[in-house]
């Protein structure tokens, strides 16, 4: 079996994300932005508290509970977006309310697997090595959700593991989107600086306070920039993994070859 090409997947993902952009990227962003801002606020609060953070365990716990609720909301947004991508890939219309009709069983399986991955991420995140791995597995879990995985405690986990069979294209995708995340963060940082510079040119506008808030030395600002970059990249990341899963399954069932051979015989190809 020939290897899946990273470039081909990224190209298809760009087209797919553009095709379902209205309104499904909007919905994805609406559900992802509160989570990312909540996470940025949590980390900023932790940095501000510093050595005294342990004394504010209850406050941080309440904040963490709110983030966990926002995480569930973001899972719903992801599932709807991925379903719209999957419908589009199957040639079915992703407009109307079709992507909103999530099958309850597979969605429950997805929530269960996503929470399990989030737990693994939280326990191992301090190592930093596991961060891209957890991001990849969480994306794969979202991408296989529209395939209608039967409900169970083990089968959804096995299904996600099975999709990770092609290590090279997946590593390539992680590298491409990690670079995209850095580029998006740098661009977003300079967009804020440009806005500040332009505002400084307006007569009577006092940008002194904003200059302090939007300075690179302000950890809260840097966290918001990082959160914004992840929100920008997320739709393309998910679309790329949906394309990957779609291509892998078409190859594993031999469906793409059979259809290609059929077209070849009829003289279409």
């Amino acid at each position: 079996m020939t290897r899946l090409s990273v470039g081909e997947i990224v190209d298809d993902a760009g087209d797919l994300a553009s095709a379902v952009a209205l309104p499904w990227i909007g919905l994805l962003w609406l559900t992802a932005i509160p989570l990312r801002l909540g996470q940025a606020h949590f980390v900023a609060r932790l940095v501000e508290l510093g050595p005294e953070a342990r004394e504010y365990g209850d406050d941080l716990g309440a904040l963490a509970f709110g983030i966990a609720v926002l995480f569930l909301l973001s899972l719903w947004g992801r599932a709807v977006f991925v379903r719209s991508c999957a419908l589009r890939l199957r040639g079915l219309a992703a407009t109307g309310r079709a992507p909103l009709h999530l099958p309850p069983g597979p969605f429950l399986s997805y929530v269960y697997v996503a929470l399990l991955i989030e737990l693994v991420f939280l326990v191992t995140s301090f190592t930093l090595v596991m961060v891209p791995f957890c991001a990849l597995v969480a994306g794969l879990a979202a991408a296989i959700f529209p395939q209608g995985e039967p409900v169970g405690l083990v089968r959804p986990v096995v299904r996600v593991a099975r999709q990770g069979s092609q290590a090279l294209p997946l590593t390539g995708l992680v590298a491409v989107f990690a670079s995209a995340l850095v580029l998006a963060a740098v661009n977003l940082y300079f967009v804020f600086q440009l806005g500040l510079w332009l505002a400084g040119g307006v007569a009577g506008a006092d940008t002194t306070r904003w200059a302090g808030l939007l300075a690179g030395s302000n950890p809260r600002f840097l966290l918001v920039v990082l959160a914004g970059a992840s929100v920008v990249v997320e739709p393309f990341w998910l679309a790329a993994l949906v394309v990957y899963v779609h291509k892998l399954e078409a190859r594993s069932t031999g469906e793409d070859l059979r259809l290609w051979f059929g077209r070849l015989r009829s003289g279409e190809a």
Binding site: F71, L92, T253
Partner: protein
């Protein structure tokens, strides 16, 4: 009938092949089950063979596990963040 047209809609091109009867099916007729495309009739047969639906029963342990994981995630977030803070300081 060729694999290039849908077995149910002869005027439509085949979008996929049913992996059970190997007939071509259009986008509307193709259904993916466990990652494999099937036509409606084969899927119905598979469903009948699978017996009565027990999805809501099998969903109970998953829902319970998800609830436990949700509670664990909200608790572990603080523990993990404090440990990371200690480690990096």
């Amino acid at each position: 009938m060729t694999a290039n047209t849908c077995v149910h809609h002869r005027d439509r091109p085949a979008h996929a092949l049913c992996m059970s009867c190997h007939n071509g099916v259009c986008q509307e007729c193709a259904t993916t089950w466990d990652g494999i495309h099937f036509c409606t009739s084969c899927l119905l047969e598979k469903r009948r063979a699978a017996g009565p639906r027990t999805s809501w029963i099998s969903a109970v342990p998953v829902a319970l596990a998800a609830a436990v994981l949700f509670w664990a995630v909200s608790r572990v977030t603080v523990w993990s963040a404090l440990n990371a803070l200690d480690l990096w300081r």
